[in-house]
């Protein structure tokens, strides 16, 4: 009986130690996913009151010199904003406002 109990304890320990390596990852990503999903707010009162020009100057300048609106055509800006989404991971309002400003030229 005792040895069976010890055997089960040992199996449990082995199982937990196998999880150890990915446990931190799961916990971290789970918390993060929960925050991201529960945030689930597609806009912010602060961003609502900001113009596309201001967002363009602020967000584009984060990584590189911001190209002026007349540098590309409206159709090209539609492509570029999708490219920037993958790199800068822009929010939906950021994308919409910035590209609307750039397409005005």
């Amino acid at each position: 009986m005792k040895s069976r109990g010890n055997e089960m304890k040992s199996m449990l320990k082995k199982f937990i130690s196998r999880l150890h390596g990915i446990r931190l990852f799961l916990v971290t990503s789970g918390i993060g996913l929960a925050i991201a999903v529960s945030a689930c707010t597609t806009t912010s009162p602060v961003v609502k009151n900001v113009s596309g020009a201001q967002l363009w100057a602020m967000k584009c300048q984060t990584c590189h010199n911001a190209p002026p609106p007349n540098q590309f055509s409206p159709q090209q800006w539609d492509v570029i904003i999708a490219h920037m989404k993958t790199y800068a991971n822009l929010t939906q309002p950021e994308q919409d406002k910035i590209v609307a400003f750039l397409k005005q030229r």
Binding site: T43, S44, Q92
Partner: protein, 372 residues
């Protein structure tokens, strides 16, 4: 096999640009008011890239013209689908040209800030550099941070990814979740780039979370983590050697009116922890390595002098820490950089960069970087 894949990718990229560019130009005459409905024939294609060339002088006084490097990026959008692919060309040490795929992925814009992606992603999981900042028309120095390309994953990986950006009050949370084939590992304990065919059954799971505490600021603090249960090839002694990677990054680019310009403050710390193994030639050693950099740049963009406001002053400290007992052909090293960049316009720069390393001496670079 790898060369054939690369060649095929390059041909596909070229064909897309050649075939779709005329269509895009003719379609540019008409405007599409909405991207929410599929309209046959309304496609958008763009070919961009970057080019770098210059000269360097080493501490011994030897001057050389450095090998040029070019990247070509094809961007193609059809409503919510977005395809991007980049090939890079440079000359290897042998003098022979080297062409490779830097990234290639298909993306679907889910809306509300979410995006689903699949294909080859560049430089996961190590934060912002080299994924975002490396192009020569973006990075103000010619030198890259020490060690940033030394830990094997900067060639990108193949898999699927979900990314999104949402608001949490007045803050922005940006997140990435991905599953990829994962790195390989050499028999000396150094992780290496993924191969075309996955070397084992274990995948790499990665996340990135960043927070911009205030939505109207460009301050962003990120944490990246990735884990694989095994990096070695199937059947090898290292098949089940786990690898955990962390990266922490910091990016802030405020306009400072008292300085009459803006400042760019960037930093990143990469940590790689490889599990226990007896490596060839060295046996066991604690296989934990790291790299970090901190870069500060200042441009007096509001100066009244038209020449001065195009100047950018930058400095960088970077370091790679190699584990004790490792036989990787390189020691731990620290690099110091000073740079002066003249921006002809938003996409073209002339860089003067003095770089000093503890073990590799010093060098002076004069380079031109262009976004094409």
């Amino acid at each position: 096999m790898k060369n054939g894949y690369t060649l095929l990718a390059g041909i596909l990229l070229l064909l897309m640009g050649v075939c779709l560019a005329p269509v895009s130009r003719s379609m540019a005459q008409s405007s599409s008011s909405s991207d929410n409905t599929f309209s046959p024939g309304v496609t958008k294609d763009l070919l961009v890239g970057d080019f770098d060339f210059g000269a360097s002088v080493t501490g011994k006084g030897n001057m050389q013209y450095d090998a040029p490097a070019v990247s070509l990026i094809n961007l193609y959008r059809m409503n919510k689908f977005f395809f991007q692919a980049a090939i890079g060309g440079e000359f290897a040490d042998s003098g022979n040209p080297s062409i490779g795929v830097k990234f290639m992925n298909i993306n679907y814009l889910l809306g509300n800030g979410w995006e689903l992606r699949a294909g080859q992603f560049d430089a996961m999981p190590f934060g912002r550099f080299p994924r975002t900042f490396d192009p020569s028309w973006i990075w103000p120095l010619e030198a890259t941070p020490k060690g940033m390309y030394a830990l094997g994953l900067t060639d990108g990986d193949f898999g699927v990814m979900l990314q999104g950006a949402q608001y949490l009050g007045n803050s922005v949370i940006r997140s990435f979740f991905y599953v990829t084939n994962g790195p390989t590992i050499s028999d000396n304990g150094l992780i290496d780039a993924p191969t075309i065919s996955d070397n084992n059954k274990f995948k790499m799971y990665g996340v990135r979370f960043s927070i911009s505490p205030y939505a109207l600021s460009n301050l962003e603090i990120g944490v990246n983590a990735a884990y694989t249960k095994g990096a070695g090839a199937t059947g090898s002694a290292y098949e089940r050697v786990p690898v955990t990677m962390w990266a922490f990054d910091f990016n802030y680019a405020p306009t400072v009116e008292s300085l009459n310009g803006f400042v760019r403050l960037r930093g990143q710390l990469n940590l790689v922890n490889v599990g226990h193994a007896n490596w060839a030639n060295t046996g066991y050693f604690k296989d934990n390595s790291s790299t970090y950099f901190a870069m500060l740049a200042y441009q007096p963009s509001m100066s009244e002098n038209s020449f001065v406001r195009k100047l950018m002053f930058s400095t960088m400290l970077s370091h790679i820490q190699v584990p004790k007992g490792a036989n990787w052909g390189r020691p731990s090293d620290t690099q110091y950089d000073l740079g002066l960049t003249y921006w002809f316009n938003w996409r073209t720069n002339l860089k003067f960069n003095y770089s000093l390393t503890q073990h590799e001496g010093n060098a002076f670079f004069i380079h031109v970087g262009v976004q094409i």
